[in-house]
Protein backbone atom coordinates (compact mmCIF):
# COMPACT_ATOMS: atom_id res chain seq x y z
CA UNK A 1 0.00 0.00 0.00
CA UNK A 2 2.48 2.57 1.15
CA UNK A 3 5.28 0.91 -0.59
CA UNK A 4 6.36 1.11 -4.16
CA UNK A 5 7.68 -1.69 -6.16
CA UNK A 6 11.35 -1.00 -6.30
CA UNK A 7 12.61 -4.12 -7.94
CA UNK A 8 14.04 -2.98 -11.20
CA UNK A 9 12.49 -5.09 -13.84
CA UNK A 10 14.48 -7.69 -15.67
CA UNK A 11 17.32 -8.25 -13.31
CA UNK A 12 19.43 -11.34 -13.19
CA UNK A 13 17.36 -14.28 -13.83
CA UNK A 14 18.35 -17.68 -13.04
CA UNK A 15 18.00 -20.20 -15.69
CA UNK A 16 14.69 -21.73 -16.49
CA UNK A 17 13.49 -24.30 -14.07
CA UNK A 18 15.42 -22.94 -11.17
CA UNK A 19 12.95 -21.95 -8.54
CA UNK A 20 13.58 -18.73 -6.74
CA UNK A 21 13.22 -18.84 -2.97
CA UNK A 22 11.10 -15.82 -2.34
CA UNK A 23 12.66 -13.58 0.26
CA UNK A 24 10.05 -12.18 2.62
CA UNK A 25 10.71 -8.85 4.17
CA UNK A 26 10.78 -8.74 7.95
CA UNK A 27 9.55 -5.20 7.91
CA UNK A 28 6.18 -4.49 9.34
CA UNK A 29 4.24 -1.51 8.25
CA UNK A 30 4.09 0.61 11.39
CA UNK A 31 1.81 3.29 9.99
CA UNK A 32 -1.40 2.02 11.62
CA UNK A 33 0.37 1.70 14.93
CA UNK A 34 1.59 5.28 14.77
CA UNK A 35 -1.90 6.35 13.83
CA UNK A 36 -3.26 4.57 16.84
CA UNK A 37 -0.62 6.06 19.11
CA UNK A 38 -1.39 9.60 18.09
CA UNK A 39 -5.08 8.96 18.24
CA UNK A 40 -4.73 7.88 21.85
CA UNK A 41 -2.58 10.89 22.67
CA UNK A 42 -5.15 13.23 21.19
CA UNK A 43 -7.85 11.47 23.12
CA UNK A 44 -6.01 11.78 26.41
CA UNK A 45 -5.07 15.38 25.84
CA UNK A 46 -8.64 16.35 25.10
CA UNK A 47 -10.30 14.40 27.86
CA UNK A 48 -7.95 15.52 30.60
CA UNK A 49 -9.60 18.44 32.27
CA UNK A 50 -7.02 21.08 32.74
CA UNK A 51 -9.12 23.06 35.15
CA UNK A 52 -7.56 23.05 38.55
CA UNK A 53 -9.55 24.02 41.53
CA UNK A 54 -8.67 27.40 42.84
CA UNK A 55 -9.15 28.95 46.22
CA UNK A 56 -11.08 32.13 46.67
CA UNK A 57 -10.37 34.23 49.73
CA UNK A 58 -13.16 34.89 52.14
CA UNK A 59 -12.83 37.59 54.73
CA UNK A 60 -15.51 37.74 57.33
CA UNK A 61 -16.07 40.79 59.46
CA UNK A 62 -15.91 40.55 63.18
CA UNK A 63 -19.36 40.81 64.68
CA UNK A 64 -19.09 43.75 66.95
CA UNK A 65 -22.34 45.48 67.90
CA UNK A 66 -20.44 48.57 69.03
CA UNK A 67 -18.84 49.02 65.68
CA UNK A 68 -21.76 49.48 63.36
CA UNK A 69 -20.68 50.70 60.02
CA UNK A 70 -22.46 53.82 58.95
CA UNK A 71 -23.33 53.84 55.32
CA UNK A 72 -24.44 56.84 53.37
CA UNK A 73 -27.82 56.43 51.80
CA UNK A 74 -26.67 57.87 48.52
CA UNK A 75 -23.80 55.45 48.20
CA UNK A 76 -25.51 52.24 49.21
CA UNK A 77 -26.78 49.57 46.91
CA UNK A 78 -28.40 46.56 48.45
CA UNK A 79 -28.28 43.35 46.48
CA UNK A 80 -30.60 40.57 47.54
CA UNK A 81 -30.26 37.02 46.38
CA UNK A 82 -33.40 35.02 46.03
CA UNK A 83 -34.74 31.72 44.87
CA UNK A 84 -34.05 30.47 41.36
CA UNK A 85 -30.93 32.58 40.75
CA UNK A 86 -32.95 35.76 40.96
CA UNK A 87 -31.34 38.96 42.10
CA UNK A 88 -33.16 41.91 43.60
CA UNK A 89 -31.70 45.27 44.38
CA UNK A 90 -32.47 48.72 45.61
CA UNK A 91 -30.54 51.88 46.24
CA UNK A 92 -30.30 53.61 49.56
CA UNK A 93 -32.82 52.66 52.16
CA UNK A 94 -36.18 51.07 51.68
CA UNK A 95 -38.95 53.51 52.36
CA UNK A 96 -42.30 52.11 53.33
CA UNK A 97 -44.33 54.19 50.89
CA UNK A 98 -42.04 53.67 47.93
CA UNK A 99 -41.29 49.98 48.31
CA UNK A 100 -42.49 48.78 44.94
CA UNK A 101 -40.74 51.63 43.19
CA UNK A 102 -37.39 51.02 44.83
CA UNK A 103 -37.37 47.27 44.86
CA UNK A 104 -36.30 45.94 41.49
CA UNK A 105 -35.48 42.51 40.25
CA UNK A 106 -32.75 41.49 37.87
CA UNK A 107 -30.56 38.52 37.03
CA UNK A 108 -26.93 37.60 37.52
CA UNK A 109 -26.32 38.49 33.90
CA UNK A 110 -27.35 42.11 34.34
CA UNK A 111 -26.14 42.72 37.85
CA UNK A 112 -22.60 43.39 36.61
CA UNK A 113 -23.74 46.44 34.67
CA UNK A 114 -25.73 47.71 37.60
CA UNK A 115 -22.75 47.29 39.90
CA UNK A 116 -20.57 49.18 37.46
CA UNK A 117 -23.10 51.96 36.96
CA UNK A 118 -23.39 52.49 40.67
CA UNK A 119 -19.65 52.48 41.03
CA UNK A 120 -19.21 55.13 38.38
CA UNK A 121 -21.98 57.31 39.80
CA UNK A 122 -20.76 57.25 43.37
CA UNK A 123 -17.68 58.76 44.98
CA UNK A 124 -15.54 55.85 46.12
CA UNK A 125 -15.66 56.81 49.80
CA UNK A 126 -19.44 56.59 49.90
CA UNK A 127 -19.71 53.43 47.87
CA UNK A 128 -21.11 50.44 49.65
CA UNK A 129 -22.69 47.29 48.35
CA UNK A 130 -24.76 45.41 50.86
CA UNK A 131 -25.28 41.78 50.01
CA UNK A 132 -28.08 39.82 51.57
CA UNK A 133 -28.79 36.20 50.84
CA UNK A 134 -32.23 34.71 51.17
CA UNK A 135 -32.62 31.30 52.76
CA UNK A 136 -33.63 29.91 49.39
CA UNK A 137 -30.59 31.18 47.55
CA UNK A 138 -27.80 28.75 46.88
CA UNK A 139 -24.14 28.56 47.75
CA UNK A 140 -23.39 29.28 44.12
CA UNK A 141 -25.31 32.56 44.29
CA UNK A 142 -23.45 33.65 47.40
CA UNK A 143 -20.09 32.93 45.80
CA UNK A 144 -21.07 34.36 42.44
CA UNK A 145 -22.03 37.71 43.87
CA UNK A 146 -18.76 37.95 45.77
CA UNK A 147 -17.04 37.05 42.55
CA UNK A 148 -18.93 39.83 40.78
CA UNK A 149 -17.43 42.21 43.30
CA UNK A 150 -13.98 40.97 42.43
CA UNK A 151 -14.74 41.13 38.72
CA UNK A 152 -15.91 44.70 38.98
CA UNK A 153 -12.85 45.47 41.11
CA UNK A 154 -14.85 46.78 44.03
CA UNK A 155 -12.22 47.40 46.69
CA UNK A 156 -12.51 45.24 49.80
CA UNK A 157 -14.38 47.03 52.56
CA UNK A 158 -16.88 48.44 50.11
CA UNK A 159 -19.09 45.41 50.14
CA UNK A 160 -20.43 43.39 53.00
CA UNK A 161 -22.72 40.49 53.65
CA UNK A 162 -25.54 41.35 55.99
CA UNK A 163 -28.53 39.45 57.31
CA UNK A 164 -31.85 40.09 55.70
CA UNK A 165 -34.59 42.09 57.37
CA UNK A 166 -38.18 40.80 57.54
CA UNK A 167 -39.37 43.58 55.21
CA UNK A 168 -36.93 42.51 52.56
CA UNK A 169 -37.88 38.90 52.99
CA UNK A 170 -41.50 39.83 52.50
CA UNK A 171 -40.67 41.90 49.43
CA UNK A 172 -38.79 39.00 47.92
CA UNK A 173 -41.64 36.65 48.62
CA UNK A 174 -44.14 39.00 47.05
CA UNK A 175 -42.00 39.57 43.99
CA UNK A 176 -41.41 35.86 43.65
CA UNK A 177 -45.11 35.06 43.70
CA UNK A 178 -45.81 37.95 41.34
CA UNK A 179 -43.17 36.80 38.89
CA UNK A 180 -43.92 33.14 39.37
CA UNK A 181 -40.39 32.19 40.40
CA UNK A 182 -40.19 28.66 41.62
Amino acid sequence: MAEMDTSSGGGHKKGPGVKKGKKLSTRVDLTPMVDLGFLLITFFVFTTTMSQSTAMNMNEPKDDPNQQLKVKNSGAMTILLGKGNQVYYYYGQLEADKLSEQFKSTTFKDIRNLINEKRKATPIDDLMYIIKSDKNSTFKNAIDILDEMTISAVPPGHYAEVDMTPTEELMIQQTETANGVK
Binding site: M4, L30, T54
Partner: protein, 216 residues
Protein backbone atom coordinates in the same frame (compact mmCIF):
# COMPACT_ATOMS: atom_id res chain seq x y z
CA UNK B 1 23.22 8.16 -26.46
CA UNK B 2 22.70 5.86 -23.59
CA UNK B 3 19.55 6.23 -21.62
CA UNK B 4 20.10 7.64 -18.16
CA UNK B 5 18.55 5.32 -15.72
CA UNK B 6 17.06 6.99 -12.71
CA UNK B 7 17.14 4.56 -9.83
CA UNK B 8 13.72 4.11 -8.32
CA UNK B 9 13.86 4.83 -4.66
CA UNK B 10 11.54 3.48 -2.04
CA UNK B 11 8.95 5.84 -0.66
CA UNK B 12 8.63 3.85 2.53
CA UNK B 13 9.63 5.80 5.57
CA UNK B 14 10.77 3.98 8.60
CA UNK B 15 7.91 4.38 10.99
CA UNK B 16 9.66 2.87 13.98
CA UNK B 17 10.97 6.13 15.31
CA UNK B 18 7.68 7.91 14.92
CA UNK B 19 5.92 5.05 16.59
CA UNK B 20 8.35 5.24 19.48
CA UNK B 21 7.73 8.93 19.93
CA UNK B 22 4.00 8.50 19.79
CA UNK B 23 3.94 5.90 22.47
CA UNK B 24 6.49 7.70 24.57
CA UNK B 25 4.26 10.76 24.56
CA UNK B 26 1.28 8.61 25.28
CA UNK B 27 2.87 7.00 28.29
CA UNK B 28 4.09 10.38 29.49
CA UNK B 29 0.62 11.83 29.39
CA UNK B 30 -0.91 8.86 31.11
CA UNK B 31 1.65 8.85 33.88
CA UNK B 32 1.84 12.61 34.30
CA UNK B 33 -1.88 13.00 34.68
CA UNK B 34 -2.59 13.12 38.33
CA UNK B 35 -5.18 10.60 39.22
CA UNK B 36 -8.09 12.23 40.92
CA UNK B 37 -8.95 10.45 44.12
CA UNK B 38 -12.26 8.71 43.65
CA UNK B 39 -14.85 11.19 44.71
CA UNK B 40 -17.17 9.69 47.20
CA UNK B 41 -19.06 12.89 47.63
CA UNK B 42 -20.09 14.55 44.42
CA UNK B 43 -19.62 18.26 44.63
CA UNK B 44 -19.74 20.71 41.76
CA UNK B 45 -18.07 23.83 43.07
CA UNK B 46 -19.03 27.26 41.74
CA UNK B 47 -16.63 29.09 39.50
CA UNK B 48 -14.75 32.24 40.34
CA UNK B 49 -12.00 34.39 38.93
CA UNK B 50 -9.66 33.47 41.79
CA UNK B 51 -6.32 32.34 40.49
CA UNK B 52 -4.61 30.80 43.51
CA UNK B 53 -4.39 27.05 43.39
CA UNK B 54 -6.15 25.23 46.19
CA UNK B 55 -3.70 23.24 48.32
CA UNK B 56 -4.03 19.48 48.51
CA UNK B 57 -3.46 18.80 52.17
CA UNK B 58 -6.01 21.12 53.59
CA UNK B 59 -8.62 21.14 56.27
CA UNK B 60 -11.54 20.85 53.97
CA UNK B 61 -15.15 21.33 54.88
CA UNK B 62 -17.35 19.85 52.21
CA UNK B 63 -20.91 20.97 51.83
CA UNK B 64 -22.92 18.75 49.57
CA UNK B 65 -26.10 19.37 47.68
CA UNK B 66 -28.52 18.18 50.36
CA UNK B 67 -26.87 20.31 53.03
CA UNK B 68 -24.82 17.62 54.75
CA UNK B 69 -21.43 18.76 55.93
CA UNK B 70 -18.25 16.73 56.05
CA UNK B 71 -14.79 17.42 57.29
CA UNK B 72 -11.55 16.17 55.87
CA UNK B 73 -8.32 16.66 57.74
CA UNK B 74 -5.75 16.58 54.98
CA UNK B 75 -2.74 17.44 57.09
CA UNK B 76 -1.63 13.97 58.13
CA UNK B 77 0.90 15.25 60.63
CA UNK B 78 -1.75 17.00 62.68
CA UNK B 79 -4.73 14.75 62.05
CA UNK B 80 -4.23 12.43 64.99
CA UNK B 81 -3.64 15.40 67.29
CA UNK B 82 -6.88 17.01 66.22
CA UNK B 83 -8.83 13.80 66.73
CA UNK B 84 -7.26 13.33 70.13
CA UNK B 85 -8.00 16.91 71.04
CA UNK B 86 -11.68 16.65 70.23
CA UNK B 87 -11.86 13.30 71.98
CA UNK B 88 -10.58 14.89 75.17
CA UNK B 89 -12.52 18.11 74.81
CA UNK B 90 -15.88 16.56 74.10
CA UNK B 91 -15.42 13.45 76.21
CA UNK B 92 -15.99 10.97 73.43
CA UNK B 93 -14.28 8.28 75.46
CA UNK B 94 -12.37 6.69 72.64
CA UNK B 95 -9.58 4.25 73.38
CA UNK B 96 -6.19 4.69 71.67
CA UNK B 97 -7.07 1.77 69.39
CA UNK B 98 -10.32 3.44 68.40
CA UNK B 99 -8.52 6.71 67.78
CA UNK B 100 -6.06 4.93 65.53
CA UNK B 101 -8.91 3.39 63.63
CA UNK B 102 -10.61 6.75 63.30
CA UNK B 103 -7.42 8.30 62.07
CA UNK B 104 -7.52 6.02 59.04
CA UNK B 105 -10.91 7.24 57.93
CA UNK B 106 -10.82 9.89 55.28
CA UNK B 107 -14.09 11.66 55.93
CA UNK B 108 -15.52 12.81 59.18
CA UNK B 109 -19.24 13.02 58.74
CA UNK B 110 -20.98 11.87 61.86
CA UNK B 111 -22.32 13.68 64.90
CA UNK B 112 -19.89 13.44 67.78
CA UNK B 113 -22.15 11.18 69.83
CA UNK B 114 -22.31 8.59 67.08
CA UNK B 115 -18.60 8.28 66.50
CA UNK B 116 -17.86 5.69 69.14
CA UNK B 117 -20.65 3.52 67.85
CA UNK B 118 -19.47 3.79 64.26
CA UNK B 119 -15.92 2.80 65.24
CA UNK B 120 -17.25 -0.37 66.83
CA UNK B 121 -18.66 -1.45 63.48
CA UNK B 122 -16.56 -3.87 61.51
CA UNK B 123 -16.96 -1.92 58.31
CA UNK B 124 -16.49 1.78 57.83
CA UNK B 125 -19.64 3.64 56.89
CA UNK B 126 -19.21 4.99 53.35
CA UNK B 127 -19.06 8.78 53.31
CA UNK B 128 -22.18 9.23 51.24
CA UNK B 129 -24.15 7.22 53.77
CA UNK B 130 -23.02 9.33 56.71
CA UNK B 131 -25.47 11.82 58.07
CA UNK B 132 -23.03 14.71 58.15
CA UNK B 133 -21.72 16.87 60.94
CA UNK B 134 -24.62 18.80 62.50
CA UNK B 135 -24.24 22.51 61.79
CA UNK B 136 -27.60 23.96 62.73
CA UNK B 137 -27.56 26.97 64.97
CA UNK B 138 -28.69 25.05 68.05
CA UNK B 139 -26.13 22.30 67.72
CA UNK B 140 -23.22 23.39 65.59
CA UNK B 141 -20.56 20.74 66.04
CA UNK B 142 -18.44 22.37 63.39
CA UNK B 143 -17.62 24.92 66.08
CA UNK B 144 -16.12 22.16 68.24
CA UNK B 145 -14.21 20.75 65.32
CA UNK B 146 -12.74 24.08 64.38
CA UNK B 147 -11.88 24.76 68.00
CA UNK B 148 -9.89 21.56 68.12
CA UNK B 149 -8.19 22.52 64.89
CA UNK B 150 -7.23 25.94 66.22
CA UNK B 151 -6.07 24.38 69.49
CA UNK B 152 -3.75 22.02 67.71
CA UNK B 153 -2.41 24.70 65.40
CA UNK B 154 -2.10 27.24 68.20
CA UNK B 155 1.41 28.63 68.39
CA UNK B 156 2.05 27.54 64.84
CA UNK B 157 2.00 29.63 61.74
CA UNK B 158 -1.49 31.13 61.69
CA UNK B 159 -1.06 32.40 58.14
CA UNK B 160 -0.38 28.88 57.03
CA UNK B 161 -3.48 27.67 58.83
CA UNK B 162 -5.59 30.34 57.15
CA UNK B 163 -4.44 29.06 53.82
CA UNK B 164 -5.37 25.53 54.75
CA UNK B 165 -8.91 26.22 55.81
CA UNK B 166 -11.02 25.47 52.80
CA UNK B 167 -14.72 25.25 52.25
CA UNK B 168 -15.91 23.36 49.23
CA UNK B 169 -19.57 23.67 48.54
CA UNK B 170 -21.91 22.39 45.91
CA UNK B 171 -23.54 24.87 43.58
CA UNK B 172 -26.98 23.82 44.68
CA UNK B 173 -26.41 23.72 48.40
CA UNK B 174 -28.65 26.22 50.10
CA UNK B 175 -27.21 29.35 51.59
CA UNK B 176 -28.19 28.77 55.26
CA UNK B 177 -25.99 25.68 55.41
CA UNK B 178 -23.05 27.77 54.27
CA UNK B 179 -23.98 30.46 56.74
CA UNK B 180 -23.77 27.93 59.57
CA UNK B 181 -20.27 27.03 58.48
CA UNK B 182 -19.33 30.69 58.42
CA UNK B 183 -20.74 31.03 61.92
CA UNK B 184 -18.56 28.15 63.08
CA UNK B 185 -15.50 29.95 61.76
CA UNK B 186 -16.50 33.20 63.36
CA UNK B 187 -17.16 31.62 66.74
CA UNK B 188 -13.57 30.46 66.74
CA UNK B 189 -12.33 33.92 65.79
CA UNK B 190 -11.34 32.77 62.38
CA UNK B 191 -12.25 35.47 59.95
CA UNK B 192 -10.31 34.31 56.97
CA UNK B 193 -10.80 31.13 55.06
CA UNK B 194 -11.02 30.13 51.46
CA UNK B 195 -13.57 28.72 49.11
CA UNK B 196 -12.72 26.02 46.61
CA UNK B 197 -13.89 27.10 43.19
CA UNK B 198 -13.31 26.30 39.56
CA UNK B 199 -10.86 28.76 38.15
CA UNK B 200 -12.06 30.98 35.35
CA UNK B 201 -10.60 33.81 33.39
CA UNK B 202 -12.03 37.24 34.17
CA UNK B 203 -14.84 38.01 31.73
CA UNK B 204 -13.66 40.30 28.91
CA UNK B 205 -14.51 43.94 29.30
CA UNK B 206 -14.77 43.82 33.06
CA UNK B 207 -12.74 45.98 35.39
CA UNK B 208 -10.71 43.02 36.53
CA UNK B 209 -9.85 42.02 32.98
CA UNK B 210 -8.69 45.58 32.31
CA UNK B 211 -6.41 45.71 35.32
CA UNK B 212 -5.07 42.27 34.51
CA UNK B 213 -4.31 43.38 30.98
CA UNK B 214 -2.72 46.59 32.20
CA UNK B 215 -0.39 44.80 34.58
CA UNK B 216 0.86 42.49 31.84
Amino acid sequence: MPKVKIPRKSTTVDMTAMCDVAFLLLSFFILATKQKPPEVLTVTPPSSVASQVAPDNAILITLIKDGRTFLMLGDETKKSDILKNINDAKGLGLSPAELAKWNKQQFIGLPLNKIKGSLALAKEIPADKMEGIPTDSTNNEMVDWLRSVTNVYAGGDQKALEKMLLVKGDNNALYPAFKNIKQAFKKNDIYKFRIVTNGQAPPPGSELAKTAAASK
